[in-house]
């Protein structure tokens, strides 16, 4: 499913839209970086409360479709700038991680 369709459907907003045509294949929820490197899959939307610079590195290395910050959490401007430079999509959800994951799951697996 194309990321821009997912964004419209599950009601999240785009902070950095580096590549909204990216294909979303699933999702992964974790605040532990090594856990994400071990278990997230390329094309997953990564839902996390972490929002420092290393998140951008992990997102890039693991090749996720984008990073979703729940509860309206916003990374700082330098993190957003790094994401833009590295081509990593950043998204913000008003709901909790549980709610975003639920909506994403329901949309991808109707």
């Amino acid at each position: 499913m194309e990321l821009r369709k997912v964004i419209a459907e599950i009601g999240i907003t785009t902070l950095v839209g580096a590549d909204l045509a990216r294909e979303v294949r699933g999702g992964y929820c974790s605040d532990l970086l090594s856990d994400v490197l071990a278990h997230a899959q390329a094309g997953d939307l990564w839902i996390t409360h972490q929002r420092h610079l290393n998140v951008i590195a992990v997102a890039k290395l693991r090749d996720v479709a984008g990073v979703v910050f729940p509860r309206g959490l916003r990374p700082s401007a330098d993190v957003a700038a790094r994401a833009q430079a590295e081509g990593v999509n950043l998204l913000i959800a008003e709901g909790t991680a549980f709610e975003v994951a639920g909506k994403l799951y329901r949309f991808l697996h109707p």
Binding site: L32, S34, L37, Q50, H52, L53, N54, R62, D63
Partner: protein, 149 residues
């Protein structure tokens, strides 16, 4: 000993201790280098993950060191060497879930204790050598083809 294969590409990166702002830059650079060399996405991903975990461990636990990327005909090698406290019990440190990460690092999502395990899982050959009070050397090798001929 098999004869050493030709070195195609070599890069040396310095890693500063406790510099979390810059942390991740070596793995990002290594990723870029390997893509430019035309490595497959699988090789690039494995090498990048190994490099990130090794880099983070040097940043968090050592007094600094260097990472060497060595691309040979038949393999990609990543060498991590640091000055620092060393690892007293390598088997214990390699166990998934074992971590001595300080609280400030855990708050940033480090300290799951999966780093060394991730390095090993993504390597074909993997070796840690360490001297307590001196430092640690980690060598991770990814073979590019079937290593029989």
């Amino acid at each position: 000993m098999p004869s050493p294969t030709r070195v195609i590409h070599k890069r040396i990166y310095e890693v500063a201790p406790r510099d979390l702002e810059r942390a991740g830059t070596v793995s990002t650079a290594v990723r870029r280098e390997l893509l430019a060399l035309g490595m497959t996405p699988d090789i690039v991903r494995r090498a990048s993950i190994i490099c990130f975990e090794g880099e983070m461990n040097m940043v968090l636990y050592s007094e600094g060191g260097r990472i060497i990327l060595l691309v040979r005909d038949d393999r990609v090698e990543l060498l991590f060497s640091d000055r620092g406290p060393g690892i007293a019990d390598i088997d214990l440190a390699s166990q998934p879930g074992y971590s001595t990460a300080p609280d400030w690092a855990r708050e940033l999502g480090f300290g799951a204790g999966f780093g060394i395990n991730n390095m090993e899982q993504n390597s074909d050959l993997f070796k840690i050598r360490s001297r307590v009070g001196e430092g640690t050397v980690v060598r991770a090798t990814i073979l590019l083809g079937i290593p029989f001929f």
